[in-house]
Amino acid sequence: MRYATAISALALAVAGNTAMAQDQTTACLITKTDTNPFFVKMREGAQQKADELGIELMNFAGQYDGDHETQAQAIETCIAAGADGILLLASDTSSIVSSVEQAQEAGAIVIALDTPLSPADAADATFATDNFRAGELIGQWAAAKLGDEAENARIAFLDLNVSQPTVGVLRDQGFMQGFGIDIKDPARYGDEDDPRIVGHDVTQGNEEGGRRAMENLLAQDPNINVVYTINEPAAAGAYEALDALGRAGDVMIVSVDGGCPGVQNIRDGVIGATAQQYPLDMASLGIEAIHQYAQDGTLPQPTEGKDFFDTGVELVTNEPVEGVASITVDEGMERCWG
Amino acid sequence: MTQPVLSAKNLTKRYGKVTALDQCDFELYPGEILAVIGDNGAGKSTLIKALSGAVPPDEGEVFVEGKQVNFTSPNDGRMAGIETVYQTLAMSPALSITDNMFMGREIRKKGFMGKYLRQLDRKAMEDFARQKLSDLGLMTIQNITQPVETLSGGQRQGVAVARAAAFGSKVIILDEPTAALGVKESRRVLELIQDVKKRGIPIILISHNMPHVFELADRVHIHRLGRRLCVIDPKKYSMSDAVAFMTGAKEPDEVEAA
């Protein structure tokens, strides 16, 4: 008898939930991992906005960067839950497309955050940093800072990983463009023949990889004086390698991201300049778009001249140069993440 | 009557519903080779393990030289001077002859290196090992540091027996020492067992090989259904009698005093 009561209570609860789900908008946020401060900030932005708009938000994450399986499962779960929209930071931008299509067939809109899918139009919209622009900003800043010496620069490139993921290529090629290097094929790095390039090495985007890659490139050419880094942890690692050789003072390091430790490192002179991106905005704009779509079926429009919605990027440095707009470290600290 | 070196009364060991030992008695006298025979599953191994400490019995008492002992691990038995050569030999193939002989009772160097850094006295151990092997006629050994796995089956058995003889001050238990060996190697091991006996250490020999048992043993303990059926003098009975007792085909009419 008691069981029967419990079961009927449960049934009622389930029925109640389903009924509620029908009038309430449900959104999913699927990130690459749930530990990276960048994604943590995103989740924060999404949650804030969702609470504000009365949207039910479900969070998912891969176990590690590159965990495609878990992300695909997460999309299936979202479809089963009847989600109206999915915010997705794809680990594998092309393999995830078939799952994305399933979600769209089930009536959900899929918005790519931070990382465009390939093809980019597989998503209904993309909210992202213009990574090429981010690279370009630090490239321009570095060139302007060096002045005439830019002609004789010896540049090391500390990239993400060997598979040349889009975000890494865009930042790298953007830097080259900004610095005044002929980038040849913009879809890949390593094909340039500019003699100022010492070489490319990979860092996995962390301190350990940054240090090792810097050491390897210094062994190839000890006269490196400009270092492009994929992100700030890699930059910090590169700084340690340079510091070990007593070269920390005379090498310029530039980076991308704008995490709080990174911005702090600009203040301490570890990094010269960084291009700051805004994960919180990406996520909250994404939730707004899902809300909008659930209301009247309109999709967000991409930024003019681009195939995605640009959430903005700012150059952060305490040594501004003419011709390149920048914000100060203090301003950067206010908007930093992590 | 002389006092037994090793004896047991009413040993009982149950594994779940199976009674492996059923109020079994046992005596081993100084200087003798006592063979223990029995059909598979009669409880020979359990008896041996209960005597050596590898398996604590549920009931019953074990006595060493008349004093009751209470073994809970093979180390206890070993401390009391009872050494066992298991059928598997219990050796580490990758380690040297010396290492194997001293496993668990290594000799440390004297002075600082031994006391604080716990360095082993390799030379003392090697000399001792060489000495013990020579005593048993395994003196043609050239390299006491060679890994046990490079030895033949008979040689390994030889090392295992030498290890037992070197440390077993009171009793040596040999579990199927010839089961895995060829004819020639078996022969050599049997001689080895007799050499050990000559040195005055009593031996418990477990074997399925009737010719070997009848050749070596002074007395034969016949085990059946978890207890001692009888003890016979191999000179007075034939092998077929023994097998008949062991399998229950024949009842011993006039059993020697248990």
Partner: protein
């Protein structure tokens, strides 16, 4: 004795005098090589290491064959090298430890967070980190030795548990090099450098080499070391010969946890910073070093110095190939080939009746 058992008489009368001769009857070059390798398992990786240094030296000249580049390799492998020492101990007992990288990073995080979040004096914080590493090792040891669970499964579990705790506890926040330098420079102690004729050493590198030598000595010359090998070779046989298998396993797992703690300290020295995302591949990298170093994954065989050589071989290949301008994928390619060759050689050495 009845008549039918006289079949052995022929053997009795013709006793084989040479039966117990322990000398090797196997001559010939290949057999000798085999014997030498059997006795000195670290020889193969040492030869491969020296050969690869010579080959890259010839290809790259002074860019590679310089005190600077060669000691750079030492610095690059120091973390993996220290972790490989821990891994070797476990593998010698026929175990495997997937959690070494996680223990390393969580130890470094404990040192950093204790010093910065709670303001504990750096010296105490380092001790706490080392103790925490030991504790993680003890947990693995208890599960393996007391609960009799397979080491692979145990450490597959603790790897995830420890790594997740690491992220949760640290909130994935990095403690910056500059902050550590300012208020707790002791954390970077292992990163201290000194130079000898162009060769650059860090205390972490010195620690790695000393650790390897001390462990190699202890494994060879103490009862504990012999017991580690015996347990790995055949735990049951070891127990029957009087080795306390539980105590040996516990000592090995705890020591390995402590060594990982030191690796965590060295990690702070190398990175300057405390970064919760580092060393996450140290488990696979250390197993690679151990296998290339000729230590058998089946336990009980191999020299811990082999693991040092194995780690250095990987370091030589990665730097050498990078300096040659080869795609980084080639490094993985060659490391993969080396692993397979190493295991094949191990199998050949184990074949005693060759």
């Amino acid at each position: 004795m009845s008549h039918d058992d006289a079949y052995e008489d022929i053997v009795k009368t013709r006793r084989e005098e040479s039966f117990a001769a322990f000398d090797s009857r196997r001559k010939g070059l290949l057999h000798r090589v085999h014997d030498v390798l059997h006795g000195n398992p670290a020889l193969v990786p040492l030869i491969v290491l020296l050969a690869s240094i010579v080959v890259f030296g010839l290809l790259l000249g002074s860019r590679f064959f310089s005190p600077f580049a060669l000691t750079l390799i030492l610095q690059q492998v120091q973390i993996v090298g220290i972790v490989a020492a821990a891994q070797s101990l476990i593998i010698l007992t026929a175990g495997i430890d997937l959690s070494v990288g996680a223990i390393t990073v969580i130890s470094s995080v404990v040192m950093g967070q204790f010093a910065f979040r709670y303001g504990i004096p750096p010296f105490i914080a380092v001790i706490c980190g080392l103790a925490f590493g030991t504790l993680c090792g003890a947990l693995n040891g208890l599960l393996v030795s007391k609960m009799k669970l397979p080491p692979f499964i145990v450490t597959l579990g603790t790897w995830q548990v420890i790594l997740a705790s690491n992220y949760l506890y640290s909130r994935n926040e990095t403690i910056r090099s500059q902050d550590i330098e300012a208020s707790a420079p002791l954390l970077q102690f292992m990163g201290r450098r000194f130079e000898v004729a162009g060769a650059v050493f860090t205390l972490g590198v010195v620690f790695m080499i000393l650790l390897m030598l001390v462990l190699a000595w202890a494994l060879k010359n103490t009862a504990w070391g012999r017991h580690v090998y015996a347990v790995g070779d055949d735990a049951e046989a070891a127990a029957l010969s009087g080795v306390n298998v539980h105590r040996t396993l516990m000592s090995v797992y705890m020591l390995s946890g402590l060594i990982c703690g030191f690796a965590g300290w060295a990690l702070i020295g190398r990175l300057g910073a405390v970064s919760p995302t580092s060393a996450y591949e140290a488990n696979i990298e250390s197993i690679t070093a151990v296998v290339i170093g000729g230590i058998s994954l089946f336990g009980g065989r191999g020299s811990i110095l082999g693991a040092l050589f194995g780690a250095l071989i990987v370091g030589v290949f990665s730097l050498g190939l990078r300096l040659l301008g080869a795609d980084a994928q080639w490094t993985y390619f060659f490391i993969g080939v080396l692993i397979i060759v190493a295991v094949a050689v191990d199998q050949w050495i184990r074949k005693v009746s060759a």
